[in-house]
Symmetry: C2
Subunit: 212 residues, 2 copies
């Protein structure tokens, strides 16, 4: 199945995020209100993107660590379908959040374990996001076999797995044969000279590799 393409709106201000999402929102499958934008503009960012795209799946990338029920209730009210929790959140936090939104995605940063991942599954969490952290990328790390085997293991465990961090059209083929659920990119699209063409190029490459 063709993986989803998700755009991360990681802008510092609402206007520039809206400018980009207006151009590529219909081309991509999932719209993410990135953490930076959430923290800069608050729930208004979710509300505005929902107003422009009433039918799209919207993720609030809150990386929620606590007060799961309150945070999830708030983003749902603002228009989000899904929300992210950080992997170091407790199970009660994830469960509380999971009651308020349609789905929770666990963001994998730092030293998580497969034992924890199994607990998330048992708590009813069905999605995980495998990252190359932005700051790790800045520090020179890149995608490799180590990452791919972790992604495969998570998929085998039963997660739908999103992949993100420094992706471009050329890196997608590294994942050929792996049933990635969603590829997430921000600047891979928004920093392109022509964001609309960049979004189409991502979708075409996904179709070429995984089929329609």
């Amino acid at each position: 199945m063709k993986p989803n393409l998700q755009i991360a709106l990681d802008h510092n201000d609402l206007a520039s995020a809206l400018k980009d999402v207006a151009v590529v929102g219909e081309i991509v499958d999932i719209l993410e209100i990135g953490t930076i934008l959430c923290l800069q503009e608050g729930k208004k960012a979710i509300e505005c993107v929902r107003a422009l795209f009433p039918e799209k799946t919207i993720v609030a990338d809150t990386k929620c660590a606590d007060a799961g029920g309150t945070v999830a209730g708030n983003v749902k009210k603002a228009g989000a379908d899904w929300m992210t929790c950080i992997c170091s959140a407790t199970i009660p936090t994830m469960k509380a959040a999971n009651k308020e939104v349609d789905e929770i995605q666990v963001e994998l940063y730092g030293d998580w374990t497969y034992e924890q991942a199994q607990e998330w599954l048992e708590a009813g969490i069905s999605q995980a996001i495998y990252h190359q952290s932005r700051d790790a990328l800045f520090a020179g790390e890149t995608w490799g076999e180590k990452d791919l085997s972790k992604v495969k293991k998570l998929i085998e465990m039963g997660f739908r797995v999103s992949v993100t961090g420094g992706l471009d059209v050329d890196t997608l083929k590294l994942f050929e044969g792996v049933e990635v659920y969603t590829f997430i990119t921000g600047r891979g699209i928004t920093s392109a000279e022509n964001p609309k063409e960049a979004a189409l190029a991502f979708q075409n490459e996904l179709k070429r590799i995984w089929g329609e």
Copy 2:
């Protein structure tokens, strides 16, 4: 030394946060823009509290997990002095954040280790926040000897340690003899019938136990 008293403004909207902070802001030592408020109102919440309290130390409780430099630069620009990072953030994220704000506080959730804590110290991070998670408290967990020994160990390692989660004036004495740097409370003050009296009662109890 008397520990600091920090109020966590964990409101769902700016107006109610401002109403409370206007009453207790001068009594407490540190003003925290809580995660819920950050996500609801964005940087505006920091800007407004800074406008009202130009001299107070302000913490943005972003629980930053990635893009440390960008998030920290943004909250600093909005008026925050300190910012929180989640314990599962990578060292490059913490270091990048630490360059932009005066101090980073690491929020301890889930399965962190003392080995990681040592890495944070070596990366120049000097503050840690020991939590009872809100959702864990809802699930029936409480403060105990296990928590106190972890707090003491972190202090011995060299951290200035903040303590938070379900604290009230009566629970402060559990920490007698422990050099806690800051006690953080939200609803311990804001849900009181008289928030101003509640803040004064916290400060008086801190002075009684730890001296002026």
